[in-house]
Amino acid sequence: MDRADKTDTDEADMVNLSIDGKEVTVEEGTTILKAAQKLGIEIPTFCWHDKLEPVGACRMCLVEVEKMSKLQIACDTVVSEGMVVKTNTPQVIKARKGVLEFLLINHPLDCPTCDKGGECDLQNFVFRYGSDKSRFVEEKRRFIVDPKSKLDDLSISPQIIRNMNRCILCRKCVRFINQIAGENDLGTFRRGAKSEINMLPDIPVDNPYSGNVVEICPVGALTSQSFRYKIRVWQTEKVHTICPNCGDGCNITLWAKDDRVYRITSRRNDRVDEGFLCDKGRFGFEFVGLGGG
């Protein structure tokens, strides 16, 4: 039985807590983040994905928990009876601002030419929680792919382009390939501020589910070759439909304009597709609109 189908009267022990003064009752073992989502309280995250193991790497979801001296990550802190959580205190706001500042200091701020613009978590959270001034006067870090080129794009598969300068190292892509697709096509290389996401040396990502990393990338670090520079997301019309490629019937969204399809993304339905698509379904749309028999 699906977890979501359980009713509150099932055998699981329930825990009462309050978040921002609102009381909520959730199953034992629930994280603060999930409990907040139940209340409709937004706690921003970059590295969290509910199908992946939490890593607590982005530190964006830090919240205040009464009786705990340090801020706690909402994505991996399990609730307890009587817990009092606050997501909007000066301390939490400062921590979020701090994380966003750290992420932006080396970010190229090339939103005008970035395909992720308009649907970028970093862009959105900076608008909502960040500062409009920079205190960083040093030279930005740049991951150079080709010393002769001004572009920092690296083709890591026939479908995917990587731009490491935009990457915030949430490692969702690496973890997806690892934990969901069950392969090791992507990895984290080097360490500290030099860490980078990359394919194995000279071995392009070759995985039937690789396109999902473009969709779960919270920034414009991984973009798809077929969608790049074609259109802005807000200029398209979204059409909800079902993938026709096989009997699985994954729920998908077509992003279209003037009868032309620009890309396909998942329209998550956990009973059908878990929110992930295969590359055939995601990238196999070029035939649409070509007519023929």
Binding site: C58, R59, K70, D76, E138, L169, G192, A193
Partner: protein, 426 residues
Amino acid sequence: MEKILFKYIDVPDQYEIDTYIKNGGYRALPKALKEYSPNDLIEMVKKSGLRGRGGAGFPAGLKWGFVPKDSPNPKFLLCNADEGEPGTFKDRWLIEKDPHQLIEGIIISSYAIGAHRAFIYIRGEFAFGAERLKNAISEAYQKGYLGRNILGSGFDLDLEVYRGGGAYICGEETSLMESIEGNRGNPRLKPPFPASVGLYKNPTVINNVETLSNVPHIVLNGALWYAKIGMPKSTGTKIFSLSGHVNRPGNYELPMGTPLRELIYDHGGGIKDERELKAVIPGGVSTPVLTSQLVNVKMDFESLFEAGSLLGSGAVIVMDETTCMVKVAYRLSRFYEHESCGKCVPCREGTRWIRMIMARIENGKGREEDIDLLLDICTNIAGKTVCPMGDAAVVPIMSTIQKFREEYEYHIKNKKCMVDLGTRFV
């Protein structure tokens, strides 16, 4: 006072098993296996007051007690020999000069927590020490101190040396476990704690080399004997790695609570060239710097905490009046940038930013607002990272600004050091 861990440190072939046995070694092991139950040993170590010597000072017996007794899973003992804290070189001596003392401690400790597999995780740079340990372990196997049915007790233990790849972060216990498992040396989220979910998700105890080396002596001489040495809450001796501007740098084993003055002037032979003492980092570079006014502080966990610093690993770095504290902080900021694992945002990005600002100040390009900016970056890192490395990385910056702010201001204003560096750095 009689030395405990360093009693035979100067015997040239103490690393050989026969010499070790001749000098009273492997006597605690049969006593532990025959006279005590595992639980007795845990209680004994609790009573002795032995605290972790790796830096945090967590009571060793308490740590052992956290291992679930009813767990059907295998248990592991890990010896943390990834001695990476700058200024610390005590474990290296214990490993290279008296490896059997450590091995005996590991066997007894494994018996106490019910582990049948133990690893010594040694930093990659200690190639010689790793070799010494491997030889010592094979000697111990030959004599029946390791392997099946140790000394007829029915207790089995296999011990292996695992060499790290040279990363500071792998001294952090969860990164250490990741490294042994073959993954990137990145810290895990806690909870769960290693005592319940550790190596390969099994109950695991991680102890420092010096901590484990103390165990045979506690078993032989009793908990009360040990508890009487040192201070009431910081018992036993501590090996201080003394370095910097002293006449006789080196490792000194002294009772906990020995005044810093005694360590520097009586044992270390005082400051080089009769210069004045300026500052001391008392427990490795992750502990706040002390000014010379605090030279009478007692070297134990409580006293140093009250003095606004920490005992840490016991690495005492002495700096004389010719030391520029801005240069010190800059050098340490480079260390932390280099060693950040890159997993979490504040440490990865913050340590690099701090180093860049420190480099500017050091090179005469500092701005007035840089000092407050540094402090604010530090508060955005401290307490907000996955592991304690973020907290450690800001310590040299925050503590030098707090105690030597005028040197920063002078550096920014005059584009040079406030102190006369003497002739050495010209």
